[in-house]
């Protein structure tokens, strides 16, 4: 039986984990629908090779959200090949 997806529940985004290589500082942010709210996550100092996938704590409660990565300095690069986002429903939905 396939696992049921979420339909309108309010979710708590507790942490993210991803594998990233590159150079410079990787900045990651959780954004709500229409970017009304956001949660800036701690920066990650990247390396060309790494044997770790750090867990980055978050504290963001929204019905739907997406994760954005970016660099802001010249010659910074990043390569991500796995992303895990930990979420937990905390409410069945928003009341009218």
């Amino acid at each position: 039986m396939a696992k049921k997806g979420f339909v309108g529940e309010v979710l708590h985004f507790g942490s993210v984990r991803f594998r990233v290589t590159g150079s410079g500082n990787l900045r990651s942010t959780l954004h709500s629908l229409d970017d009304i709210t956001s949660d800036i996550l701690p920066n990650i100092v990247m390396a060309n090779a790494t044997n770790t996938e750090p867990l980055i704590l978050a504290n963001f409660t929204e019905q739907r959200a997406y994760l954005e990565f970016k660099t802001t300095a010249i010659n910074e690069t990043f390569s991500i090949d796995k992303i895990v986002i930990f979420i937990k429903p905390v409410a069945t939905g928003y009341p009218q």
Binding site: L67, T71, I74
Partner: protein
């Protein structure tokens, strides 16, 4: 027609010094002079200085007091032969603007500006005699107390030269290759004195330009596309006047930004942009504006 009485006296420390023989160098020191015309001081080194006198009558005499430091060989090597140190010129005679731009062996000197009067150059005519002496490499001669004191009638040539950018009139002294440079003189000088029809060459930092328009009070040329000197001087050559070559002024040449096609370079982590500058095209590496990646929405 006004009459003149020119009295030109250098300061007490002014000296011309000549070294003959093989070296044939010339120097002068501290030649800051005062100049009066009809007892009225003429400012030197400030805007408004007449760029020359055109004497109509009278004889211009330049008096020098020579001081020998070492002997010169005959016929110019004895003190008595040039003890008078007098140069005389019959009118009409141009006491011209002069900028020491005539080249070697004269030192190139632009200051003071605006232009001094070219009596210096005439003095060097006398210096030339010394130059012809032989075997006097170690000889030197110093003149001091030089003065000009004479009477006659004169015209004051007080035209002002102005550099304009005809291609981009709003940029009076900022040019790009291909722009038309216009030099005007206001008011037009008397014919056969300083008017631009007498100009034989325009030089941009020493390179001869092609004159595209030449009238009595206007002269034009186009900056060549390969001219990359950022701040070249413009000089006018007139063998009959202003001592051969006179400085008009300096302009700034800015090269435009290059156009081209962007190419993708694997592994390149920035954008290389070509920028225009006064020293040709240069490149600058700029960051790519905040490269980013986004996941899809989580949640339903």
């Amino acid at each position: 027609m006004p009459t003149y009485n020119i009295h030109w006296v250098p300061d007490n420390t002014s000296e011309f010094e000549v070294f003959g023989g093989n070296s044939k160098t010339r120097t002068w020191r501290n030649f800051v002079s005062s100049l009066t015309v009809n007892s009225v001081p003429v400012p030197i080194g400030v805007p408004g200085l007449p760029i020359g006198f055109h004497t109509l009558t009278g004889i211009v005499s330049i008096n020098l007091t020579p001081i020998f430091r070492n002997g010169f060989n005959p016929p110019y090597g004895t003190q008595s032969s040039i003890a008078s140190g007098v140069l005389t010129y019959n009118s009409p005679f141009n006491l011209d603007a002069f900028t020491f731009l005539s080249g070697a062996p004269f030192p190139i000197q632009y200051n003071p500006n605006p232009l001094l009067i070219s009596v210096f150059y005439e003095v060097f005519t006398l210096v030339g005699l010394i130059n012809n002496s032989t075997n006097s490499a170690s000889s030197s001669l110093v003149w001091s107390g030089m003065s000009i004191d004479t009477n006659g009638t004169y015209d004051i040539i007080s035209s002002v030269w102005v550099i304009n950018n005809l291609t981009h009139p709003n940029n009076s002294k900022l040019f790009s290759p291909g722009d038309t440079v216009q030099i005007t003189t206001n008011p037009p000088p008397p014919p056969n004195t300083y008017d631009f029809t007498q100009v034989t060459q325009i030089r941009l930092n020493g390179d001869t330009m092609i004159i595209t328009l030449q009238t009595q009070d206007e002269i034009q040329f186009i900056i060549p596309p390969d001219k990359d000197d950022p701040n070249p001087p413009i000089t006018l050559l007139n063998p009959a006047s202003f001592s051969g070559e006179a400085l008009v002024g300096f302009i700034s040449i800015v090269r435009g930004a290059a156009s081209g096609i962007y190419t993708i370079t694997p592994g390149k982590t920035n954008d290389t942009l070509y920028i225009g500058s006064q020293s040709g095209n240069q490149t600058t590496d700029n960051k790519i504006p905040d490269p980013f990646a986004k996941t899809g929405f989580i949640g339903g």
